[in-house]
């Protein structure tokens, strides 16, 4: 009798957990760094462009265009510029994840009640106080929602980073496919899905908390 998928999975995880953990760690590193950079850049540019509505429309369109390029094509395009490895993978992930953060930061700031803004300004809030005490706190749930989309997307999309030699869980999945090793394939896939679900729930919880 051929072993079932669960048995294969258990065998693989039992035998190769150190390989799996190393891949998981590599994946987490990639996702964390890409997400942190996207977060800082996205919120920063989002705040900046919320003061420049005309420019905002252009930037959102650019981010939207980057978002529609298949990630594999982006990787391929980056190879002549940045070679292979973690760096081009990070750049591609940041390009890809920009849209949700940029869009939600912009929308969150734009949707702040004009009456609240007017009252705060009328009471003598300066630009910094307006941003830190009024605008960002009120836009925060929306910003976190954008970050959630970005992080979950990063987790799944970063499995493709194996194609430019950035390793991670994608390497496990790819090898599982190439060698018809169902246990390996399942281990890589399930771990990626699990990671995405945990990130999703954590950020959802955070989003609720700040609301």
């Amino acid at each position: 009798m051929t072993p079932g998928p669960l048995q294969l999975l258990a065998e693989y995880v039992g035998g190769k957990y150190n390989v799996l953990l190393a891949a998981l760690w590599q994946q987490c590193q990639l996702v964390l760094i890409a997400s942190a950079v996207t977060l800082l850049l996205g919120v920063g540019v989002g705040v900046w462009m919320s003061r420049r509505p005309r420019l905002a429309r252009i930037l959102l369109r650019i981010a939207g265009t980057l978002y529609t390029i298949p990630i594999l094509a982006t990787f391929a395009l980056l190879i002549p510029l940045l070679g292979i490895g973690q760096t081009p993978a990070l750049v591609a992930l940041v390009m890809y994840g920009m849209l949700p953060v940029l869009h939600n930061t912009y929308a969150g700031l734009r949707d702040v009640d004009p009456a609240v803004r007017q009252a705060a300004r009328g009471m003598g809030a300066d630009a910094r106080q307006m941003l830190l005490l009024v605008e960002l706190p009120l836009a925060l749930p929306k910003i976190i929602a954008g970050v959630r989309t970005m992080v979950v997307m990063n987790i799944s999309v970063s499995t493709f980073a194996v194609f430019i030699g950035a390793g991670g869980l994608g390497a496990i999945i790819l090898q599982g496919i190439r060698t018809f090793h169902d246990g390996m394939l399942l281990a890589g896939t399930l771990l990626t899905a699990l990671l995405a679900m945990i990130a999703e729930q954590l950020l959802k919880w955070l989003e609720q908390k700040v609301r």
Binding site: D113, A119, G124
Partner: protein, 242 residues
């Protein structure tokens, strides 16, 4: 004291406020009244530089505001608007003491002040820990008034503060203003389109029509005025009230 001298404000080709001169004596309530588009709100907003004027000058307690830092100017002037604009993510207490936070005062001091101000405007102490959305419209505007008093400014600007509440609540809020004014003698500029409210609250009433000042006098003299436009405003309010 507020001294407005030949102030003009244009938006493109249209003139919102045209060469208006008006003096508000210290400790008095000046009501600006007129129909929509008469320039009353624009005139009010020039005093704390929410709107910059094109010509003329405004002096607040002797200081020419054209040369003043708008942020510092606003922190020294109370400001109440019709839409209230409470900060939904702050407690009522933090809303009342918001200006003190802007001024960098420590939290215990701010809380103490918020409590005293809540009492002053007739809010029960248990609302201090609530969020604004948990309050009724009337209570929210009391918070709006308390907030304007936080830094103990000599001048308070009120832009149709009671325009969006029901008549009974409005009456109570007007009584609150009269009581506060009895005790504190602030210099108040109060915008409304309701002549009844103007005559109730104002020491003086200034009437604006299409950006021009067409009448100003004491409340008593305004009530007896034979000026056709003033009569019209009194009549309009009378009809609405019935």
């Amino acid at each position: 004291m507020i001294d407005i001298s030949r102030v003009t404000k244009r938006y493109g080709a249209s003139v919102a406020v045209k060469e208006v001169s008006l003096t508000v004596a210290a400790g008095q309530t000046m009501v600006l009244i007129g129909p929509s588009g008469s320039g009353k709100t624009t005139l009010l907003k020039m005093i704390n530089r929410m709107v910059d004027f094109d010509e003329g000058s405004i002096r607040v307690n002797g200081l020419d505001i054209a040369g003043a830092d708008p942020v510092a100017l606003r922190r020294g002037i109370g400001y109440v608007i019709q839409q209230i604009g409470l900060l939904p993510h702050f407690s009522v207490s933090d809303n009342i003491s918001f200006v003190l936070r802007l001024l960098g005062q420590p939290k215990p001091l701010r809380d103490e002040r918020a409590e005293a101000l809540a009492r002053l405007v007739g809010l029960p102490p248990e609302v201090l820990v609530k969020r604004p959305f948990q309050l009724s419209g009337g209570q929210q505007q009391r918070v709006g008034v308390a907030r304007a008093l936080a830094a103990d400014p000599a001048i308070i600007l009120m832009d149709e503060p009671f325009g969006a509440v029901d008549p009974i609540t409005r009456r109570k809020l007007q009584d609150m203003i009269l009581e506060l004014q009895e005790r504190m003698r602030k210099t108040i500029v109060f915008v409304t389109h309701d002549m009844q409210e103007a005559l109730t609250l104002g020491h003086r009433v200034a009437v604006l029509d299409r950006g021009e000042l067409v009448w100003q006098d004491t409340a008593a003299a305004t009530a007896e005025s034979e000026q056709p436009f003033v009569r019209e405003l009194i009549g309009a309010t009378g009809r609405c009230a019935r």
